[in-house]
Amino acid sequence: MTPDKFEPLDPVIHSQVRLAVLSILITARHADFNFLKQETGTTDGNLSTHLAKLEEAGYIQVKKAFQGKKPLTTCSLTEKGKSAFAKYLKALESYFPAGKK
């Protein structure tokens, strides 16, 4: 396969943490910040930066609220995010030789 047949990957998703976040949110209606931090194995600051990028691109919606006295940040995937994730998966397929997906 020649490189020109590779489909370009969305740079917003093409990062380990952001891809991990979207992979969680694709099956979830919403997930809270601590869950995403725990499952992606990242730090508060790092995750916040990645979430901000995804939110800026319109791929996720971030809601900030309070649960009792504790702040609670929850994230959910937008329609644009779902579509971008599907496109990303399709683009990833192009990196595999035919019949070896």
Binding site: F6, S23, A28, H30, A31, F35, E39
Partner: protein
């Protein structure tokens, strides 16, 4: 980006999907609570029939249902507040529980009280709804054994319809209940504990 990196990304996506699945596995708590309540209801029913206190039978089942619903609502609200992630599968399962709970209320209490059908038909209809509950649960959590329990409930419903007499029907229902409700509830619970332990 090359094939190796693409494979690594696919592996990451699969790992995240698996982690989310584990974090939102069905705990079986509500199944067990309802199982214990219905078992108590069946025992209460037996005692009332033994002492020929037929007029109190309905109250026995109303008490079981009210306690079950109040517990389920409080449990649901508390769980929703605490849960860090909510998947579409969980939402589907919750709607299934509510639908079957409403079905049990209607076919077990409301409709017979309104004389829509004889009390003898209650166990058959309860078995049909139990079959739906287990079959769909097996489908959404991708656990085939639950589907088999669903099929057994439906076969039991069909079998009970050929047998006359509320006593023998209730006995068959009790056997079905222990084998196809309590047993899968305990299996579900132990599967959940194993999954949580392996996290």
């Amino acid at each position: 980006m090359d094939e190796m990196q693409a494979k690594e990304e696919i592996r990451l996506i699969k790992a995240m999907l698996e982690k989310t699945k584990r974090a939102t596995a069905e705990s079986g708590t509500l199944f067990m609570v309802w199982g214990v309540l219905i078992a108590l209801g069946l025992m209460g029913n037996y005692v009332l029939v033994y002492f020929k206190m037929y007029d109190w039978e309905w109250l026995n089942w109303v008490a079981v249902t009210v306690i079950g619903w109040v517990y389920s609502v409080i449990y649901g609200i508390r769980k929703e507040r605490k849960e860090p992630v909510r998947t579409y599968i969980q939402t589907a399962a919750r709607h299934l529980y509510i639908a079957c709970g409403a079905g049990f209320l209607l076919v077990g209490i409301a409709l017979p009280a309104l004389d829509v059908y004889s009390h003898e038909a209650i166990v058959i209809l309860i078995a049909v709804i139990s079959g739906i509950l287990f079959f769909v649960m097996g489908g959404i959590y991708e656990w085939p054994i639950l589907k088999w329990f669903g099929l057994i409930w439906w076969m039991g419903a069909l079998g009970m319809s050929f047998i006359k007499g509320i006593g023998i029907r209730t006995l068959i229902f009790t056997v079905l209940f222990v084998a196809c409700y309590l047993v899968p509830s305990f299996i579900l619970r132990s599967k959940y504990k194993k999954e949580q332990a392996s996290k």
